[in-house]
Symmetry: C2
Subunit: 408 residues, 2 copies
Amino acid sequence: MLIVQKYGGTSVANIDRIKAVAGRVAKTARQGHKVLVVVSAMSGETDKLINLAHQASSNPREREMDLLLSSGERVTSALTAMAVEEQGFKAMAFTGRQMGIITDTVHTKARIEKITGERAKKALDDGYVVVVAGFQGITEAEDVTTLGRGGSDLSAVAIAGALNADLCEIYTDVDGVYTTDPNIVPEARKLDKISYEEMLELASLGAKVLQTRSVEFAMKYEVPVVVRSSFNDNPGTLVTKEDEEMEKVVVSGVAYDKNQAKLTVMGVPDKPGIAARLFKGIAGSNIVVDMIVQNISSDGKSTDISFTVPKTESKKALRLTEDIARELGAGGVDLREDITKISVVGVGMRTHSGIAAQMFETLAKHGINIMTISTSEIKVSCLIDLKYTELAVRVLHEVFGLAYRIAK
Amino acid sequence: MLIVQKYGGTSVANIDRIKAVAGRVAKTARQGHKVLVVVSAMSGETDKLINLAHQASSNPREREMDLLLSSGERVTSALTAMAVEEQGFKAMAFTGRQMGIITDTVHTKARIEKITGERAKKALDDGYVVVVAGFQGITEAEDVTTLGRGGSDLSAVAIAGALNADLCEIYTDVDGVYTTDPNIVPEARKLDKISYEEMLELASLGAKVLQTRSVEFAMKYEVPVVVRSSFNDNPGTLVTKEDEEMEKVVVSGVAYDKNQAKLTVMGVPDKPGIAARLFKGIAGSNIVVDMIVQNISSDGKSTDISFTVPKTESKKALRLTEDIARELGAGGVDLREDITKISVVGVGMRTHSGIAAQMFETLAKHGINIMTISTSEIKVSCLIDLKYTELAVRVLHEVFGLAYRIAK
């Protein structure tokens, strides 16, 4: 088998941890598998470099930022290859360029366009363990790019897809994907298996185990992904294609996301084209808008429009929205940052009804007011007051029987 | 003018120093010059990485070592470009690869084979300050290489040669090239000008200002090099072609090198081919042998052969020499590490005699015994007891009138 293993920042935080990773890699190689390893920068390293950049310049150029940040993973890839050799295997470190990871030119959040990987294939065939610096690629013009936060997950999944790997293991500091955050619900249970779609919802909803784009990529190329801990030998969670067994489970998990802010434009004239004008203006500045709700106009003349944006962009979005609101002749704009998006996710929802109603009822029973609702085929999300986050997670986890996974 | 400026590790040791470098670069750019900057890793960074490598592996592979070590200069190049932009100039960071520095495949001490530099030329023409990561290149097979200790000097001089720069400024933490080490002789005087040949002798003899290979390169391509401090505005020392004025000066400087060890093979059978057998064996293991002396055989049957090797290789050289001595039927091998090579250098020696005699006489007068002598057209070197180093440097500096440079 060809196995791709990705180790995150905490798994390669220092030399002792890198040696432990090498031991794990060697164990897999000893079983007769070909192993390609993708490593992140040592934890803290990327933040240290970002900090230096902001000391050097008030507005660092993104091309140079990528050159700077890519160095952290290069260091780890070289050290990991050395440590694997020390275990008695041949090992070779590859940069993103040497791996043939070609991206677009959008620095600091580049998208992978293709992976050639010829040299890595040859090295694997020649019996080498290949260690690739994650998080980075190269443009056609040979400039270094990085793939955005959590980009090493994407490197691993994309390489696994390109090389037709049998398995992609994402090693991190948790045992796998849980029914919810175990810090909030001690009874949260690790899932043995979860579908790409569910994982995608959980990832984008704030369960920080696996980067969203890497899940999209895994789904597209049908790469089986296992999320597991590099600190023990527990089996982890398999992220794979939806199967019948999964469909029997109505709710797989409860996720929350505290990193959203809610903007409401009040008194928007109720006529065609207004929403388009508003969101086109926001999209133009690359702010990702998530939940959008337009209330029914009570007087037939004006309405309120609410939407959420990442909290980090809320100030920028507020200024922008205020400008547009003025142009549109709307009333004021209200910003709320003390909110949480809470969601229940499960592919079984496709064939089971009543989940949304049960969620609303449960929240209401505990005095938690719902500000905004958004649904998809396999999830229901509600915006609630930030202070109720933990309570909401606990009661929903309980009402949907997640601790014991009751197949309904 | 096109000016290449190289800044060493202490000159870019932290963000404040990098900003000071950016200020100096901006000042040069403001005078209307095109500026290409070569930077080292922040001081201490390379040693930190080497240390990590030796923790990861008892015998790190050199290919991975180069990948590891090259990251330090990449970080500095990105940060320096950012800081130059902050000064109001367009700046672009280049890796060794992006600069087109093609080397051979001898990892950790690669030799530059060619520099394409097309992209850098275009960037300079487009008004960019170009900042290049020093110390690194790339093989034809696209593996990262490094150029050995002090390799950033070589990067700078080689780039200056390839781009036909008008001047190559090497910024360091000293004001220039001195008649001798000012730590030993406070009256040591900074030289305004020195020939490539003299600089080469001084560099290889242990004056640590400029890396030896970079001087060879400068001489070959006739690149005018200025060595100066990044901590003040003093004019520095110009290293250039020999001229008439220089020839009037008999002795330019006194150098010493404490990093040599002396091996003596005793009782070597005095017959043809013996020396060849000995030094072929040592050269085969890549140890650089410097001074070789074969004493006249007193009994016509056996002789002693002495030679020096770098102190770091002395143990390895001793084992090797003992093996060869056994084969040759020689007596024992003696290793002395408490020695110094002390040298006087000057192009004027070509036309002035008596310098060697004056040197021996001076040393003798102060009770300093000479173990071995070696001469070239422009230098005289003696091995002496380590403990006399400072005394010898002082008395020679004085006897040759270096503090006041007497043109004889």
